[in-house]
Symmetry: C2
């Protein structure tokens, strides 16, 4: 008898619900709900350009509308029955914390606070807390460096403590009124489960470990002694947060009577642990030992897992390695590139002033070039470097231009730069014992830009595979719900089995081409010379390997160009 789970994906502008057949991952019903508040769902403040908040009421209304309508759509499928829905999974953006009252209700739902932006949800891309992030990094570096080791050495302005501390400083009344704070990823499952006490909200290790410096090694959240150095009120808050965070696979709760009625589902079905969209996207892409999942969009998020038994060390420059953050019994490993699609968008739209047609035209022109033919090399740092340098204050570089260099050549060089950046991440992971033997991509670029994908295959030297689902986070949430329900509940007892059945790859794939890879191996060495020269302090650069001779670098590129042109001419 078929069973179904629901995956709910909270994005930046909308929430999507999918109803999935657990037998094969087939989507039988779906609905997207656009958040009604603010600008495309984001609350802005003209006086604070770095501010980005969301109205928690949109989350709750979106939950209702998206699931109800997805279920309605599913009823068109002859196999489907509401009785056979066995669980619900939720993924969200993050770190997106919101303050809640003593009944676990969003503070913003209270008339007293509804016009105060600090009382709303602090969206992942809110950057008002830059000063707090710097102070947290400095304080931890000086007094508790172990806290930073699993998160790459730098605490971000996008993360939990930066945001809550900023609220404490800028809106102390909101901070004082908050009984607790909760990540959106934990808030939605708690809503479905009818939790009415913040201390009873089940918190996911995914958000706790990657964004809140939670780890077993120091007993959960950072010690009060550390938080007191930031502000004694943050140490007090620790008592009102949580002592334990959990990996997915166990339930975050069961569906409450009230929400069962609202959605037209059975009361008591499993609610999976919440998780971040990237992590559940990795699950929905079939992540397993040896697989790197790349979610390629404006920026890139890379996810991999490694068995806890392998005792992966801290990998320098990797944003986060957290036990259980993607799947239980595995380290969840997260990395990323700050600008990928955005880098091409900058070139095509910002500089060349074109649109989709120019994207397509430059892509077509760039496709006719052989690797090395342009003589160009670029660094992909226009938005800083997230991994492996963890430095937002790095900038772009393009080198090798002549008076004949075309915009299509630069377009290709920028794609190549992001591919070199991707390779640097993979090599760093491998250097520290994380196996990577296949790469699965998802996101619009992966599905649409063949040139991009072929360059990545050639540069990385691995087949580039594409996830079968265009909605991997929602699918991953549905997988998580199936595992949480368990075989006895009509789902699966293991993640491997659930993924094998419910996730897939597209038939289309991109394999490395031998000649192109050979040229890219040389270009990657040149990229790495520039990477280390401009990205590392002088002393570190000197120790980073063979001393680069930048004085010959332009000539080496020209030699490669001439060799390539001659080879093309000889064909």
């Amino acid at each position: 008898m078929p069973t179904f789970t629901i995956g709910i994906d909270y994005g930046t502008n909308s929430v999507r619900a999918v109803v999935v057949d657990t037998a094969d991952g087939r989507v039988v019903g779906t609905k997207v709900f656009d958040y009604p508040s603010g600008e495309q769902g984001v609350l802005l403040d003209p006086k604070q350009p770095h501010l980005a908040r969301q109205n928690p009421a949109d989350y709750v209304e979106g939950l209702r509308v998206a699931v109800v309508d997805a279920l309605k759509a599913a009823e068109g499928d002859p196999q489907f029955s509401r009785d056979r829905v066995i669980g619900i999974g939720v993924d969200t953006t993050g770190s997106t914390p919101l303050p809640v009252d003593a009944k676990a209700r969003p503070l913003a739902a209270d008339a007293r606070w509804k016009n105060n932006l600090a009382a709303h949800a602090w969206l992942w891309k809110d950057h008002t807390s830059a000063a707090e992030a710097v102070a947290i990094t400095e304080t931890a570096t000086a007094h508790a460096p172990e806290l930073l080791a699993p998160i790459g050495g730098t605490y971000s302005s996008e993360w939990w403590w930066s945001k809550i501390w900023h609220c404490l400083k800028m809106a102390p009344d909101v901070f004082d009124a908050a009984a607790s704070w909760v990540e959106l990823a934990d808030f939605v499952p708690a809503v479905l489960a009818g939790v009415d006490d913040p201390r009873k909200i089940v918190r996911c290790i995914c958000a706790a470990g990657h964004k809140a410096m939670y780890a077993d090694a120091w007993g959960g959240l950072p010690p009060k002694s550390f938080l007191s150095r930031l502000d004694p009120k943050l140490a007090d808050l620790r008592d009102r947060l949580y002592d334990h965070a959990y990996a997915p696979g166990r339930p975050a709760g069961t569906l409450s009577a009230e929400w069962a009625k609202t959605l037209g589902l059975r009361e008591g079905i499993a609610i999976a642990m919440g998780g971040f969209d990237a992590h559940y996207g990795a699950v929905g892409s079939g992540v397993r030992t040896g697989t790197l999942v790349k979610i390629i969009g404006t920026s890139t998020c890379d996810c991999a897992i490694a068995p806890v038994a392998d005792e992966i060390a801290n990998v320098p420059g990797i944003c986060g390695i957290v036990n259980g953050s993607i799947m239980p019994d595995y380290f969840g490993i997260e990395a990323g590139q700050s600008a990928v699609g955005d880098l091409l968008k900058w070139w095509v739209e910002g500089v060349c002033r074109g649109g989709d047609a120019l994207h397509a035209q430059l892509s077509a022109e760039a496709s006719t070039l052989a690797p090395g033919e342009s003589g160009l090399i670029a660094l992909d740092w226009n938005n800083g470097n997230r991994t492996i340098l963890v430095d937002t204050r790095l900038t772009g570089l393009i080198l090798g231009q002549t008076l004949h260099t075309s915009r299509a050549e630069i377009y290709r060089a920028l794609i190549e730069a992001t591919a070199f950046g991707a390779r640097a991440i993979i090599e760093r992971m491998r250097d520290y014992g994380v196996a990577i033997d296949r790469v699965v991509c998802c996101g619009g670029i992966a599905e649409k830009n063949d040139l991009f994908m072929q360059i990545y295959a050639d540069v990385i030297g691995q087949p580039m595979l594409i996830a079968g689902s265009p909605q991997t986070p929602a699918l991953g949430s549905a997988v998580s719900a199936a595992v949480t329900a368990g075989a006895a509940g009509g789902g699966y007892d293991t993640w491997t089995e659930a993924q094998d059945r419910m996730t897939s790859l597209k038939a289309k794939r991109f394999d490395p081409r031998h000649d192109a890879k050979a040229v890219y191996d040389e270009l990657y060495r040149i990229y790495h010379e520039l990477h280390d020269a401009f990205g590392l302090p002088a002393a570190a650069a000197a120790n980073a390997g063979a001393r680069p001779d930048l004085g010959t670098l332009m000539k080496r590129l020209l030699a490669l160009k001439e060799r390539t042109v001659n080879r093309v001419a000889a064909v």
Copy 2:
């Protein structure tokens, strides 16, 4: 009683004649003649993209038409009379050698050779002789390094011996048929003087010293022992060339009866020594000790002079230092940048796909930026670096881009890069004892692009002056004719007096602004770090001064950007 001289300027596509009042440099008649042959006067070969030749018949026809029509135009001036024309001066492109027969006639004028491109004039920008240039440099480096010292250490494919040797190799019949070879700058005066024997052609030190490795130190042209290492036939040719070359000021001859009749002028008037356009352009811009003349166009040619008594040493990386090449008793010092206007043209037309309107728009947008505000820095090497690195195999670099970097910011950064390159040349000259205390510019960019000129003033820290004449080479040739005629002949006995009377500066000038200069001083140090890191061999870069720390370079640019933005905001 007023007197007049004629200046004739042979450019790449046309020849211009001006009739000038020697009292004040006023132009009383002018005519431009477009060469009729080939593409805009240049003979091309689709199978040899580096080939660029000219038909010597165009030179002779152009001489006749341009001067006859300029004189006709002058007759509209009430002061003018043909009887009062006291001399003719000629400047040309170079090195532009052509083979001649035993009567000093162009070989190409002979029906037997007229369809052979090797028998025509080898235009300055003909680059077919790259291999020969490399071989000459290598041979001289190994066996006669003194030959290379005055020309910056590298022999060019654009120069005399490279071209003649290439002719010998590729068209030995033409080489064998040539009684001698002559630079265009010497050919035209010889035509006017009716010279009918190549050995009697008066050769200018300007071409000989800068392009043919002629110097008193080794008895004129390179010794036969050296030429024999290249090819014994080149050593034989040496006997059919010349033993002496002369500075301007003495006559190259007097006007022949035949040409006096053709032009409607008095027989026997002075014909000045020929010279290169850049050198006579410097004369027409008022070059003197302490003055650098910058001829700013697609590329830039920089000319300065220094008294021979100062015993200027060889200046490393300067293209040429030749006794008497611009004026007698002074070293003529020549430097240049390979791409200036071409760099902006590449950006605006090649990359941004605009025309004159976009040039103007980007210039206007870039004018609103403060120095340092973009956070960008660039190297001006898209066409290699002529001075001070003397390396055609260097390429461009742009650094500091973010996702918000605009094309106007890059446009400005490219202008700044050329200004930094210009400053590097001036600092090198000063380091080796050449005084530079004012800069006079000529060329279209100097007259039209105020942003460009202000950036140069701020970067160089000197007032940027603009030559009064839009035709400084032709004016300089007319000055030379007046000096050659001498006071007794109605002209002047000294160059200083002739220049004071006949040349001028525009009232418009650009003075350095204190705050901008301070920022550019910092940016120039960053430019120089990149310059040495990418332009010098590793060992030389290490010795070139304080060790640069490229690992902090992007952050230093950001700090400068933030300081600038804060200062702008504070105003």
